[in-house]
Each structure stands twice: as C-alpha cells, then as structure tokens.
Symmetry: D2
Subunit: 401 residues, 4 copies
C-alpha cells in the first residue's frame, strides 16, 4: 500500500488536502460509536457553537454535511434557490468555473461575469448589473472568496458595499473553501448569506465534511426554495437539531472528534493569529517568487492570496514537469496548473497546519526543481528573500515563552 | 472529549456504525496526500476492481462517493430516473420508509407497497403490478435488501424471478446498506441494476463513503435520466475514470487506504466465510432470544436477518429503557426501536468485524439488562442456547491451525 | 505482519500484557520529541507526582525505568543490598521463583521459604526467622504481592505486623507487578520500602516501563548498598531530578504520554473504584469456576487473587490444550500453566482495562473450550453464576448517569 | 498534555530520538498481545534474522533488549568481561565519557585514552598499548563508532587492522548507537565482537529497545565472564531462543511490530542507499556551516560524522541560546552542547527518517536563529551552499520513476 515510499516526510504543498496536525490524527484514531448515544449529540452541540466562530457569525446556522466542497456548493444553492432563478456568478479560474457549471446544471439562469485568469471578480460589472436590476430579478450573487487555481482573493467587503449601495436584496453566497480559517472572513459583518468550506482545507482535517453556514435570511429562503434536494436539504438537519439528536443520517464519528481537536488548536493559537500566520507565509512565498525572477499568476497585489500562490513559469518550461519532478525527486507535492493555465503555472499551497520552516524547505525544493527543469534560478535566492522577511516577522511561540 | 468514559471496551452492537478492525484503524492513521499524485489513482484503480467482488459483479461499474447511505440512495435514483417516473417501492420499516420519502421528494411517482413492520416486502403485490403493466410504465423496482429497523431480509432472487417471469424491463435498484459484505448478495446473478452500501456497515469502516455499483443497463439509463444532479452525477466520475485520474473532487485519503485494508481483511477471511460468520452469529442471537422467551420482531423465518435482530419486549417494558441501561451500566450499545416499533423493540446489530465471544458478551449483558428492567429472564439461558449452537459450528481460525 | 488474522477482536485474558485503553493508544500515537526540551521535564514532573498516588505513598520516591518487571526487580535489589546480604524470600509460584533465582545470581544469601504452589507465603516461618534474628542479620524481606502463576495474593499487612512485632529493621521489598493499580496496596501504611510494577500490567500500557518506588529508608540504604549497578542505579536519576531535567538517559516519549493518559483514566474512574472493579471481576470469575465444577489453584479464600485466576483442569485434560484451543478457535488468549503447574492449570487474567461484559465473553469462550477438550461442562453455567452476582453488583457508570 | 503547542510540524533535529516514519507509527498503533502465542515467536524469529543485516553480520547473535543505549552498553560489557579486567577505552566526548564512567563503576580496570573533544580516538596510543601487551592483559577495546556529542566518527577498520597487526585477542566492543543503520558499519568484516545500537536512533523508532549483536567469540566469552548480571544476561535469551519462545521476559509488542516496519522501510530503500543518504545530508550540512563562516567542532575531515554535526559558535554567543531560540520561535529542536562544549556548540542531528527538504528547512531556521542571537550570517547562504550540492546529488526516488 505504500508503493511510492520515499525516505523522510512528504512535503505536502498542494492547496488541499493539507497537512493534518498530529493532535487531530490522534483524536481521529478511534473506533466507531453509536451516534444515537448521549455522547455524540453533546459533542455535536459543542461543535455547532464552536464552528460559528470560524465564520465570525453569531446569527448563522451551521451544517456539518458528510460531503466535499462540491457537495457544500450544491447544498448552498439548492436550499436557497429555485430552478430558473437568475443569479450572478463570476468565473476567474477553475473552481469558480466548476461552480458555475454546477449552477447551470442545477437549472439556474446564470449571469456569468468572466475575468481573465489571474484577475479578481469584476465588481464593476456586478455594480452595473445591480444598478440595472431595480426589479430585483437577481436572486443571488455567487462568488468564490479565494480562487484556488490562480491564487486570487476576491474582495467580499466590496461586494457587500455594492449590494448595500443598490439596496439589492440578492442573497450573497460565498465559496470559502480555500479561505475560511486562513483568510480574514466575516460572515455577519459582510452580510454573507451562505458561506461554506471543506474539512480538508484550512481546517486541516481529512476530506469528508462540508461545512455550510446559513444566515437567517438564507434559512428563510430555504423554506420556499424549490430546487429539488434531499440529501442536502437543511430541513432534515433543522428537524433533528430541534429534537436534540442532531443527525438525520450517520455522521463520521472520527471527523466529529477530529473537528473538535482542529478547532481547539485553532482557538489555542487564536483565529486572528492563524490568519496572521497565513499572511506571513503568503508574503514570504511571494518574496521568494520575486527573487527567482518569476511572475505571480495573480495580476494585482489587491488580489494576492495568502493561502495559495500560482507561479508562472517561462514559456519554454512545462509547469507540469515542475510538479512531476517535485514528486519524483524531492518528495515535494505541488499543485498543477489547471485548465487555461495548465502547463503555465504551478501552485504552492501554504494553508492549514504549516509553519515557516516547512515552507522554507518547500521553497528550497522549488529552487532545485527550477534548476532541474532548466530555469536559471540562483539557488538560495528565494529562501534568502523569504528569510529576510520572516526573521523580522515570526512571533515567539506563546506557549513556549 | 471522552466525558463519557467507562472502563474497558465499549460493546458496540448497534447495526451501524460498527466496530472497525485495528488493521483498518492503522491504515487510516495517516496524513493527507495529494490526490493528484500517481499514488492515489493507482490505489483507486485497485479499489474499483476489488470492490466489485463484494457486489459479486464483473460487469458493474462502482462509484466511491464521499457521502452516506442516504446520499448513495440519491445517487442510485437520480442517475437512473426522471421526475414523474413511476416506480414500485416497498415500506417494511423505518429505512425503507425513509427511502420512499426520498423518492417522493425527488419527484417520482411512487407506487408504495407497505407491509406490516416485521414482514418482508409483499412480492405478490409486486407480481400483480408487473402483470398489469404490459405498457411498462413502471421504470424501477426499489427494494431494501435488509431492513435494519426490523431485522427483515427480503428475497432478492425472487424479485428477479418475478421480473423475468413478466419479462419486465424495470430497473432493479437495491439498498444493500446493511447486507452487502454480510449477507449473500449476487448483483450479476440476480440482475440487480444498482446496488449500494455505506462504509460504516459490514465493511467496518468509518462513515463517509457511499459505495454504489451500476449495471451496464443502469449506466445506459443514466445517459437519459433527467433528474437534476451534480454532486451525485455518475457522468463526472466516468469522465475522470477515462482520464485515469478517477476523482472529480477530493476523496478522503484515509477512507481509501481504509477501504483497501478492509477489503484485504474480507478477502483474507474469504467473502463466503464472512457471510457464513454472519449467518452463524445471526442464528446464535435468535437462539438466545428464544431462550429468553422473547419474540423476534421478524415475523417469519424466511425473513430472518443475519445482520440485525430486533427483539420485541413485553408490553410492560419500554425498550428504550433497555438501550439506556445498556449504555449507562454495561457500556453496551444497542439499537433503539424506531418509529412504529419505538419502545417496543430493541436491536442487536451483529454485523461487520465482530466474533462469537464478543456476541456472547453482548448477550450476557442483555440478560442482565432484561433483569434490571423487570423481565424475569433466567440469567445464562440465552448464552447457554447460543453456546450450544456455536460450540458445534465455529470453525478453526485458518491462519492459526 | 498480521498473519494470524481472525475476525473480530482478540480476547486478551492473559495476566499481562493486558488490553490498552484506546485513549492511551491515542496518546502514544506520536512522533518522537527532544527529551531535553522544556516540555518533557514538565510532563515528567507531573508524572512523578501522579505515580505516587497509585502506590499510596507521599514520602516515596518513584523511578520510571526503561525496563521490564525483571529489570525493576533488579533495580529494587541492587540499590538497597550488598552481595552476601542475608534476605528472606518466598517461593510460591513461577514468578517468585524467578525473583529468588535473580536474588541468588546477584549474590545475596537467600533464605528461601517455599510453599506448595497455590498457597500463600508462609508467614509463620517468617515470624520464626525474625524471632531468631535478634542480631538483625536479615537485611530484607522480599515478597511478591500477587503471584501471577497461581493466582495467590499474599497478605502484606501481616508481613508489616510481624516485622513490627519483632521490631525488625529489615527492608520490606515488594513485587507488585500484578497487583499495583488493581489490588489494595498501601506503601506508606504498610511500611513498604521498595514497591514496583510494570507498565504492561494493571496500568494497561505497553511493556517497557518499570515503575519502582522507594521509601526514604530505601533511598538511605542505596547510599551504602554495594551491589554493582549502573543502568539501574537510582543515584543517576536522583542527580537529574535535582537538575530538573529528570532523565539520565533517553526515555520513551510515547510511554510518558501514555502513562499520563493511563493515570488520568485511573484517577477519573477513581483508584478505589478500579480496585473494586477488580474485586468484582475476580469474584465473578471464581463463581464461574465453581459452577463449572472445577477447582481454583488457590488453596484458600484468604489468598484469592482478584487479578488472575488459575483454574485446575481434571487430570485427563492437558491445560495447554485449553490455551491452544482458545487461540486457534475462539480468538481468546488465556494464560498457560507454568513450571510445576504446567499442563495442570490455565489462567484467566482479569486485570487492567477490562469490564464485565468482556469477562463474560471470555467465560463463555472458556465453557466452549472445556467442552471441546472433553470436560463435561454445562454450557452457560459459569456465565449464569457470574451474571447472577454481577447483575447485583455492577455500579452505574458515573459519567453517564 | 500538548501545552507547548505550536502550529505546523516540530522540526526534530536532535541526534536522537529522531523522527519516526508514519509507517512505523501505524505499525505500532496497536493493542497488546499475548507474547506466548505462536504469533510473537514467529515475528521475533524474522526480526532476529533481519536485524543481523543492519550489522552486516551472518555469524552474530542479536539480542533485542527492553532497555536504552545505556543498558545495551551494560549488556555488552557484563556479558563479556569480569571485574578487574583490563580494557582500553577512549574518551572523545560526552557519550564515550559516560561509557567509560560505566566501565569504571562496573569494576573494570579501564585504560583510558583521551582525545581533545572534536578529535577522533587516538589509535596510535592504542597501537602502542597493544604492542606493549604481549601478555594479552588487555581483554577488550571499547570504542564509540560515532561520538554524538562532537560529531566525530572513529575509524573502526583501522582498529581492526591494529588488532590484527599485533595479533591481539582482545575483544572489540563497539557503541554504534548513532551510527548503525546510518553509517557504514561491517561487523563481520571488521571483526567486531559486540556492536550495539538503540531503537530511537537511525532505526527511527521510539526509545526502548537496545539492540546488541554478539560475535561467536563474544558468546564464548559470555560463558566465563564473571560480571554479575541477570536482566542483561544473554544466557536467559539463549535459553529461550533454543526453546523457540524467544523471550525470557515480556517484550514490547509495539516495538516488535515497529521494528519490523522500520526494517522493511530500510530494506525497501536499501541499506546502502540509506547510508548514502546520510552521507549526502552530512555533506550538505557541513557545506552550510562553512558558508555561514562557522567552524565544525570536528577537527579533521577524516572524522566528519554523517549523522550529527556539532557547530561551534563564536565566543560572544551562548550556543544554548541558539537551541532555546529554535524551540521558542521556530519550532525547531536542535541539540545542546554537552559538558566541555556546553555553550560552545549546538548540534544538528541528521540521522534516521529524514530527507533533503526537511534538512533545508532546518538550515534556513538555523540561519534565522543565528541572526537572532547576533551572528552576522548572510541569510540564505547556507541553504544556497547545501542546495548547490544537493541539486547535483539527490537521486530520483526509485518507487516513483
């Protein structure tokens, strides 16, 4: 089963699934339990309270759904919309593209706003669409907070401002898969109606739990939304919440205990410190890319992502070869370029349970790979640039002072 | 997190989630991995081949979906049917009832055949419906192989015979959640078109993987089925199967390695030996129930289930109290009576990774509970009856002879 | 590596190593750490305080030695005695015999007091020896609290009384390997000078830690004891205790965290409740043996052991065959008869992290084995006898009321 | 229990205990077992055969002793020597010093040959002593293969040559604690009589198993050696080897399975490839140290150690502060300077289950620490030097080509 064995630790720098803390692995290393015993509802109750904190919401209702990010998308859409509903959605990379594909297949009338890959969502187009929609035919705005394929972070506060400016009642649905628990996200303050993430991203768990949080307005919308749904129906959850047994169907006992451990670690570090750590690692990575003389796929600083950096390789290099070589020679896992940027970018994921020295090992590896594939990098240059910044910015570890 | 600590091992006898073998826990005790590396597709390819064996199919196409049994149901239905399609479905207990509820919510025209709880599906009614349907308006027959709420096993071979007798082309969809890997199940021989199970049942894994297997006819049906679906759409899987990368979205790395280990154990024991073990444990349990002077919820021997036994308590006893007492005093987890049989039955799950002495410990515990709640059981009687049978029927452990 | 696979859980009823709680397995499932970081000394400090509680001592000094019970014996002896010292030691079974063998090989002048196997230490002989020793030539009394080979518990309070009666200054050295954390043991009250146990016994950890506790008098003796020792020398530990770094050589990081978890569980249950649970399981086992019509190897009730029961088989049965059959057919691990009682007794260990239903599963298994090997046992009889007692005596689980 | 939590992985670069492969952690994540069942002897038999390969011996007899390196030392000495025996032993650092201390306390007449710390053993003095010893009063030569405190590797082949040159029959006892499985070691070829290591070093296991291997000549010596021993006595092992039950006392079940997994990984990589990897990591580390403008504690290239590098800091810096800062700010664990070199050197352990990118992360961390403590390092310089070498020398991963 370990037929791809290599000595030492695998350096996992894909933007998900990410490294799992040992504390979480330990918490999950357990037999099944009866989920109808008093223990699991008690645990679930705690989790539902705790999970709201990572969305920065007090009024939201969270759902822990045994699914992936794709399923969480479907849950967000089908509980709040009806077939034929007009929605505005942005394509800025592969994952926003896939979400739009899902929206279309689910039968919505999707008003697609495309940007060049590497750019953020075009909010001016949004503004003009809202301005023109005094009849409020637009039922929802769907936007990816952080596009994992290009390393672009959209400005959600601006979306809210535009909605407010036009006093538009459209629902505000956010894919926070590669942002929540890593980037600044404020559900209540930004008036987000549905936000969602997956367990295998910044929460640093295995895949398998889609975490969806719905505002009161979204919950209300779910009462009239006509999209067909059963497995993803919030109604079943809400019925079991009321009964205090919480689960309409069997949850993963292991993921529940794992989520508890993951949240405990995040709260021990402090959510804002976690976000600051991601900002630091993102900056360090970008400084390295610059030192290598390579271009960031992200077109402007305002869209820089602190969870994933897509690095553009020169035209004479195939970025897939960078990824392959990382795997074959350095036990380093990097992200491929997808779709429009296939062969053109490789991606460094720097989210979840990861620290500075791990990142520096990765950056050193990337330098050697670049040399391997024929790019004339100055070895050590990226690490030096990152270190110069990090040495001034890494805080002391609070528990060890 | 372990605030319900009790000394010694929890005796887990709910009919799912069930005990996980240590070998499987070990295989799952691992960090995440890049699912786009060459390792995971290679593992997946093996799994897809291996998993067909537990369905006893060579022509079927399996899907390992990050979901629960409820999601697997939805996948089976939405990929093969269109809204308004007429289907025949049986209610014989809580889980078949929930499946019918799902079928109705998904917009099918469900021709429901109800039986008294404790009875099997009424196949004479099925025969008469098929006889009357020369126009072939019935698109599918949906049936639960083993009703977990009442401990009733339906006769699938008979369903096939009836379909064949009337040369009816309806799809044959089977919920094998509490049967596959434990009861005799023959997808190809019985002409089942979609069969499904969940990882937390007889496969003895954590919850989180819905395993669906589709016949060529079902795959063909999926090309025209109009039920709206995205997350559960087989088309996306088939596209990635063809590319050799296998996954339209992120799988649980841990469940993949866990499934490999679980299947390895099943094949090491021998699938038919696994089924024989379940038959033995089922018989032993029923002998104990008889010795206690209690009634099996299952009305006739032909429907006896070898994975779960629902025990009827006398009217002066609340079966929920039996379950509560097991939890509070004996660290024994039994299944509650659900819906129509709430308070009237408790359930002993004897499926998955469990052996004779574990079951005997459970039976001894049930005897003490029965005495606790006021039923005049003769202590030791059920264990004696079970032992008398088991001592004649337990085989030597092949690896230890 | 699991070439002796059998379905379901192995029923581990040897008197050590015993079942490890899942909480402890989780705590131990971890990478190595630098034992010179501030974390490990802080953890060790806590452990040394906590471990005193299981000896019921406040004045003792504990040592956590990377060794087995045999090494712990050697540590107890070599730190307190000099070659040629006269000591009184009792042989009542295989383990006390081995300790005497060690004492002789270490060069002490051992005054051996032998009893028939199945009997306790002959304390009248001890009294007469002490009475005759007004010159105080006897430097130490060495006694096994619980002889694991025969299931005999010696009366340590009586030993202290006799020593006090003769105002004899001999050191009082106790092997508590199969007693401490399971039987009533009171180091301070009984004036024990060195007590010891091994991690794999009632503490329910893996093998590898010998836990030795020394009274102030024993520590004083160690300053003049001339037995050659280095690895087992307390002096090195005491030096590092003083420095606050605690470890003269590398400890097992995993066993340290495991010990913390094990002690936490014992304190959560309550040490006296743990002891009461062992008394209950011991009684239940003896009632079953009686119901089977078999003899307990332990000759008198005053010596009955609550951690292990040695069952005498009729002369026409080979007790090794009982053990072999448990392994080969029932996945049940029982203890062999050793040395003088080889072939004559098999042993049921009922110590450590084990509960009532586990024991009842074991007893049911033993019944079937007995029938297998030709003993005309009435199936269910032992379980019935045990249940009749247990159903009246098992307390509710405090955390679940 | 994790009160020193820090985000991301701890970077463990002390020269033991070292990082444990996940495969080994998984193998060890298991309940106890009866060590008298047929399974454990079968496993042990395999282990004893396999373990000989890491010593490169076919004629040696291995012992897997539940102890640490210190205990393994004691086992090597007490089984082959008698009190008063004259032995030649070398002090070149803290661990060789501690071994000499043990030798003296065990009562041998130790002819100590001291070198300046940072230098290897003075083999010329050895030659002169042997030359003068035509009476063969010297019974053994005791030498540390790799002194962990100073990063000095002694030349064992030369020791053998000198012994042969003088046709001296002295036993050749080798501490291979930080060498075996990492440095080139050839028991049979070099005529080593006792070699030993500890599980927590290059084998990458938890602490707790002392692995000792004895030549036929050493086994013969053990039959007449008069040093008092019981726990460490090979005789007891040999007796149980003959019986085929292998264990005179309870082994750690977990360490046995862990050792199997560890050896499997080493053989999968290939022992010589493992040694080559250590050579590569050692070279890379030394190149970094040079680039930083710092001195290696090891005085000459011939003594360079490929498992640990002791780095000398300038006099105005306290090397303990380097270690403290690694822990407090970078989650990096480095080795302290010990005894004579306390405050003067810090140590980078690069042995066991570790790869190039992990080391580069460590080196980047050391650079930042050096800057933190006031040494004017050029950030990136060491990493650049190491990368320049590594990029030319890292092989492709065989399993992934």
């Amino acid at each position: 089963m370990d037929y791809t064995y290599a000595p030492g630790r695998n350096h996992l720098f894909v933007p998900g699934p990410v490294n799992i803390p040992d504390q979480v692995l330990r918490a999950m290393n357990r037999n099944n339990e009866d989920y109808r015993s008093p223990a699991i509802p008690a645990l679930t109750k705690t989790l539902l309270e705790d999970v709201k904190k990572i969305f920065k919401t007090t009024s939201g209702t969270p759902f822990l759904i045994p699914t992936t990010g794709t399923g969480a998308w479907e849950s967000a859409l089908t509980n709040t919309l009806s077939p034929g509903d007009r929605i505005v959605s942005f394509i800025i990379g592969q994952f926003s593209l896939l979400w739009v594909d899902q929206q279309q297949r689910l039968g919505y009338n999707v008003d697609v706003v495309e940007s060049e890959w590497g750019h953020g969502a075009d909010l001016e187009v949004l503004a003009s669409k809202l301005a023109a929609d005094s009849a409020h035919t637009i039922k929802a705005i769907c936007i990816v907070h952080n596009e994992t394929a290009t390393g672009v972070t959209n400005n959600l506060a601006s979306v809210r401002k535009i909605l407010d400016h036009y006093q538009h009642p459209a629902l505000f649905l956010v894919d926070g898969v590669s942002s929540i628990c890593a980037l600044d996200f404020r559900m209540d303050e930004w008036g987000v109606d549905v936000a969602l993430t997956g367990s295998q991203k910044a929460l640093s768990l295995p895949t398998g739990m889609g975490i969806v949080c719905a505002s009161p307005k979204a919950i209300e919308a779910s009462q009239t939304a006509k999209s067909v749904r059963v497995f993803f129906d919030w109604k079943d959850y809400l019925k079991f919440y009321k009964m205090g047994t919480y689960w309409p169907y069997t949850p993963s006992i292991q993921l529940l205990y794992g989520l508890k451990a993951a949240l405990d670690l995040i709260f021990e570090e402090g959510l804002d410190n976690v976000i600051a750590r991601h900002a630091r690692l993102g900056t360090a990575t970008r400084l390295a890319v610059e030192a290598w003389g390579l271009k960031n796929c992200t077109a402007k600083e305002e869209w820089f992502s602190d969870t994933v950096t897509a690095v553009v390789v020169p035209p004479y290099i195939d970025s897939s070869e960078v990824v392959r070589r990382g795997w074959k020679r350095y036990n380093l896992s990097l992200g491929l370029g997808l779709n429009k940027v296939a062969g053109k970018v490789f991606r460094i994921g720097h989210l979840g349970h990861v620290n500075d020295l791990q990142l520096l090992g990765c950056l050193a590896g990337v330098e050697m790979i670049l040399k391997d594939v024929g790019y004339p990098v100055k070895l050590g240059s990226g690490v030096a640039a990152a270190c110069a910044y990090l040495q001034n910015n890494i805080p002391m570890i609070p528990s060890r002072i």
